[in-house]
């Protein structure tokens, strides 16, 4: 259990830094410009357009005890459960609600695929798939855990300050509900994974620290330069 506590502590650190970031705060308090909101929406879309693919990766490496649970999550992402539309399609709904042009959407799809290419192209720093897979799982579940806490706040902010409807924002409100369950299941799956591969504390801690050497939420949603601004990278 203490290994899961360590992971959750890291998730909390990531979340706190994200909540304290200037960009998040202006998005939520309405002081962001309309370009800022559109940039945020672009960031959300380009990351989560990959949700089916990354969840499929997590499913492919799930240990037997977690398989059914993660499969259900994957089917949910793909819109193949009772609840309806695939989550990437909900992002297209958001795009229509914002009135985004097709050319702009094409750029977002291109960014999304560039991100996917980057993830696949990176030389692996672990000796086996079990360590590398753990790192992938940690990051994917970090987003679900964070969205369980923030998706509704994002949706509310965009509704209030960007004038979008609840229907346009269905992606956020679905995740606000579904990810509560997924966040709880994430820790169960991580625990199953650690047990299946008999990871010791040092291995878990090292992989967690390597995976979260940067703030992944700020980096993925707001970009590298915003992350640099938040961490004071350019202050000499």
């Amino acid at each position: 259990m203490h290994q899961i506590d360590f992971i959750e502590e890291e998730y909390k650190k990531q979340l706190d830094a994200f909540l304290n970031s200037r960009f998040f705060q202006i998005i939520e308090n309405g002081k962001a410009t309309s370009d800022d909101y559109d940039q945020f929406i672009s960031g959300i879309c380009s990351v989560h357009l990959l949700s089916e693919q990354v969840m499929a990766q997590v499913f492919s490496i799930s240990p037997p005890a977690a398989k059914a649970r993660v499969r259900e999550n994957l089917l949910c992402e793909m819109g193949l459960t009772r609840e309806g539309d695939s989550h990437p399609n909900l992002l297209r709904k958001l795009k229509n609600g914002v009135g985004m042009s097709e050319s702009k959407w094409a750029k977002i799809e291109e960014e999304s695929q560039k991100l996917f290419h980057k993830l696949l192209d990176a030389p692996i720093m672990f000796s086996t798939l079990k360590e590398f897979g753990f790192s992938i799982m940690l990051e994917v579940f970090a987003f679900e855990w964070m969205l369980s806490k923030l998706a509704r706040r994002f949706g509310n902010a965009l509704q209030m300050h960007r004038g979008l409807s609840a229907s346009d924002l269905e992606w956020f409100f679905i995740h606000a509900i579904k990810d509560i369950q997924h966040a709880k299941e994430a820790f169960e799956t991580l625990s199953d994974y650690i047990e299946y591969h008999t990871f010791d504390d040092e291995t878990v801690e090292s992989i967690v620290e390597i995976t979260f050497r940067e703030n992944i939420f700020i980096k993925r949603y707001f970009g590298e330069l915003t992350l640099a601004e938040e961490t004071g990278a350019f202050s000499d």
Partner: protein, 387 residues
Amino acid sequence: MKLKSIKVSCLKLPFVHTFAHSLKKRNYSDSIIVKLKTENGVTGYGEGIAREYVTGETVSASVGFIMAHIWPSIEGLDFSTLNDFVKAKDLFPFLEEIIPEGPLDFGVIAWNAARSAVEIAMIDCWLRLNNRNISDLLPPCRSELTYSGVVTSTDPEKAAKIAKHLKLSGIRHFKLKVTVDHPFEHVAAVRAALGEELSLRVDANGSFNSQQAIEFVEAVSKYKIDVFEQPIPRGDTEEFKGIRTHSKIPIMADESIVTIEDAKKLIDQGCCDFFNLRISKCGGLGKTLAIAKLAKESGVKIQLGCHVGETAILSAAGRSLAAHWEDYAFLEGSFGDLLLTEDISTTNIRFGFGGKARVLKGPGLGCSFDPQIIEKYSSETFNSENF
């Protein structure tokens, strides 16, 4: 096919974490990227990293030297004249002749970062023009290389943690940055984290005085240290030699070796066992090769080092150089996105598990560079009029 235009970009590319050694704490790369373009639009990239405490160059001074002295000397160069040079041993001296060395002012020892950036760009451009790879100039002796991990000088607990992460990543050769503050505890902590078998070197970046350096060697010899790099500042070679005389640990020169004249002096006086050669510090591929040749002839071993924050350009150049050398002791560099928040190549060329990386086979330096990423992180750019 003539060289038509130049663009110089000053990068501010953030790091994933602070990188600290005794002389500087850094949070971003401040590389100088040179992009050359021919009449028919073929481009080539080069990189130099200005370090005032090493060569005396600042970023602004290096850029000024490139635009005011180097570019006017090479503008309009017909690249077809380079086609006569089949071998590196002929091409590099030619490039050295046409890329100016001076005037040396502003306290600069050598305009090596500036020259490195332009020389590499010229080579990359010329190779791409002819659809060739750098292995044509520098035939590789091996297809795979092994890089060291570097542990920066933070507190001993953090240093041990970084060492453990790198060990989990299969790294077998380690360099630890040490300072006069807590040097023994650092070494002890990192050695404990690594176990007894993995190779460990230490690098003081010239932060000790002679007495401190000798005491340090006495205290850490029991930790199986393979090399002690740059124990004291660049300057008095007799003092440097004195440390080597008293040291049970082999001594490596880094900041003390910037030019071939430095190399000759260090060799003649028997000052060190190793040279740390870095392409940008030494003034480009040609000069680095020349110093390496001299070292080999004199029995001094070499390490191909790197500058903190190098992008894929210097990483690719370094890869080809190390692959070409029959023998080198240690290899550093190609950290890529382990240190940079994003690297500038279109494919990821950093090392992987075990510090392993393969020779690059694409045109030019072996990989392509993304102008949009360079633009994203450029704080200033300088173009020739017709870029």
